[in-house]
Symmetry: C2
Subunit: 416 residues, 2 copies
């Protein structure tokens, strides 16, 4: 896929929405200009170019998201953002076995003997996203005597990204870090925006920090080895952007979901880029989730309850969010905030994605209520939810809703 | 002790140094003005006034340190800085048994039924400053459903302050917190400046965050129940300020150490205030320890090696720092950077404080070398130390020294 190959869909973004990303959020304008500049062929460069670059605009903590094919092995882009003489690559058993760890170490070293790259391989899965496994990262860093000037590199999916980011935020009170996401979920969501952390037995992501990476390097080739179930789980988060703020993207997904699930490279780059643009805009507007950032959690309050209730690792995060978004759409309809067609379209698209549109049988209403009560978005003990309201692409974050409708949704979705 | 009772020594600060705090650091000027304003009698107020207020100047993260007698039970100052409807007081078994926990809860509630105050009591001691015990704080906060709007209150010594601050930095990615230090060590050092964290088996304070409190409330009455050994340990950190940047304060300590150890209230308020002023100036100039803040760690690299080498809890932090400062003075003399009289005065003053001036017998040179190599101040694998250089009150933070002198100091101090 050429660097030019992905420009066409970006132009479509502007036409489809009527309102471009740049119009919505002025900070993105420079980003788009920069992206255009990037596709100008550079005759003298041998480095692999990113097909697209999205900039997350956070003042002196701004950073680029590089998206393309072959970026990992090339190494030039990576070494541009890892300037320390040591690095610690954090990954999991699955990724290591697939050869990505070795390739990342090689790319970081770049043949320079003065660069020392250490590695730590964690067990794979959400059920290992806890303080005990996090401690393995600190231990490795201390055993290999990495000092404050080092860089941590997250190589993996959302769990590895969140844990490595939090380890970086807290190791010696903060070292630099870089994200190399290897799953759709991590590429379109968790690697961008600086939310890092681990789970607690009583709640998901309850321990963490806002901590921004130096850069996010997305090599879409890594998706070639991703199991179908995980791929689909990530697409559920992509659907979310359409629902909460980008109606035309939702429509594009309705038309292109088969192509996407067939892993068409152009479709993937487009979906990843457009997701990242949406996420970057939201994060730039509200880094620490004082308001609009919460909308990125559509379906997540229901979803987190499912994940925690089942025990981490039973359902993938995107699977739980998929069911959660159906519940949010259902509740929005009951509140009279959306047309029934929007609920139907939501469920139909997620069905096509092969992600759950119902809640697991084991869940009880009591479990839902208990787990939702400790959600981070609660304020003064009052539950707040992201719900759809208005036409496709619009939502609200509110605690101001008829509680009986929540109960009706739970009654409709929960078997026990 | 009247509020006016402590103004005289502050005036002495200005006279003694020739260079006032305000001249050294412009940000402190407003602080001093504010302190003066505070001592103006307020006819209509029934609230207990702080005898002194020191302001830590960090832009939008600035906060006051209130120092006085009876501040805890009064509660007005505390409630001014804890504005949430819930709070979690974190303390240890010792402090709880002495009745401070109950008094703090009462002060926070202030008779208002709408305010919910939860508590968690941790085991006492540096050996419990780890991730497992930290998890008790998260668990309690989640069990009692405290949301992002809550405030954590650290009631105790340095260990409780560091752990509570770090728990606050990381619980739901950050909640507010307030420090109520109950030891000399915490009052003069650890509660001020936002360094929070826990230990790792391989190194002290290796996991943490820079996270500033809303306020530090120092009620010197709490020192009445502090054991002599802990009191003396804290005074070692007070001596440090004299050595690194405040020669006249060192001289005041030489003249008043007996009064201080006899727990004279005026002497305590003066020593605490002057220590806080010194610390606040350094922190305001260099919050994240890019440079000058490192000088606050005089003796700490040696000291941390002793603490870690012996196992946390064997020696108190200030005891290890006391021996470490003797080693730093010794090495500074060997480098020809100070007169022998300064080394002698350092050792004599610490001897008077009843804190160690020699290293524990169990320590080996190899243990020192291994543990010092993972010190956070190392850069690119090179050990950096704070050493005295020049007349009393001056020091340097450097990795540029003759390594054989470090070895000579270790040979002189370490038995094995």
């Amino acid at each position: 896929m050429s660097a030019r190959g992905v420009r066409a869909p970006v132009a479509v973004v502007a036409r489809d929405t009527g309102k471009t990303c740049a119009q919505r959020c002025p900070g993105v304008r420079s980003m788009i200009a920069r992206r255009r500049a990037l596709v100008t062929p550079r005759a003298s460069s041998t480095a692999k170019e990113a097909a697209a670059t999205v900039r997350v605009d956070l003042g002196d903590r701004s950073y680029p998201i590089l998206i393309g094919s072959g970026l990992l092995d090339d190494g030039v882009a990576l070494r541009e953002h890892v300037t320390s003489s040591t690095a610690l690559v954090v990954t999991n058993e699955t990724i290591a076995k697939l050869g990505y760890l070795e390739r990342t170490v090689k790319a970081l070293e770049g043949g320079d003997e003065k660069i020392r790259v250490e590695t730590v391989v964690l067990p794979d899965g959400e059920e290992h996203k806890n303080l005990d496994v996090l401690n393995m990262v600190y231990t490795r860093a201390l055993e290999t005597r990495l000092d404050r000037g080092t860089t941590f590199v997250a190589l993996g999916g959302g769990v590895i990204g969140d844990m490595t980011g939090y380890a970086a935020a807290s190791y010696q009170r903060g070292v630099k870090f870089v994200q190399i996401p290897t799953t759709v979920m991590a590429m379109v969501d968790s690697s961008v925006g600086g939310k890092t952390g681990v789970n607690h037995a009583l709640g998901k992501n309850m321990i963490g920090a806002f901590y921004q990476p130096e850069c996010v390097l997305i090599d879409i080739d890594a998706l070639q080895t991703l199991p179908d179930r995980e791929f689909a789980s990530g697409i559920a988060e992509v659907v979310k952007y359409g629902l909460i703020r980008d109606g035309p993207f939702f429509e594009w997904l309705e038309a292109n979901v088969d192509k996407l699930l067939a892993r068409d490279a152009d479709a993937i780059v487009y979906a990843v880029e457009r997701s990242c643009i949406n996420k970057a805009e939201v994060v730039a507007a509200d880094e620490k989730e004082g308001g609009v950032r919460a909308t990125l959690n559509l379906g997540h309050t229901f979803g987190h309850a499912i994940e925690t209730g089942l025990g981490y690792g039973e359902w993938l995060h995107g699977e739980a969010v998929s069911a959660g978004m159906c519940m949010a759409a259902d509740m929005s309809l009951r509140l009279g905030w959306i047309d029934s067609s929007l609920k139907d379209r939501t469920i139909n698209l997620l069905k096509k994605c092969n992600t759950p549109i119902e809640v697991p049988e084991e869940m009880t209403i009591q479990t839902f209520m208990d787990l939702m009560a400790v959600d981070k978005k609660a304020a003064n003990g009052k539950l707040r939810l992201i719900l759809l309201k208005g036409p496709l692409g619009e939502c609200v974050f509110t605690g101001d809703f008829d509680q009986t409708k929540l109960r009706e949704t739970l009654d409709a979705y929960v078997k026990k």
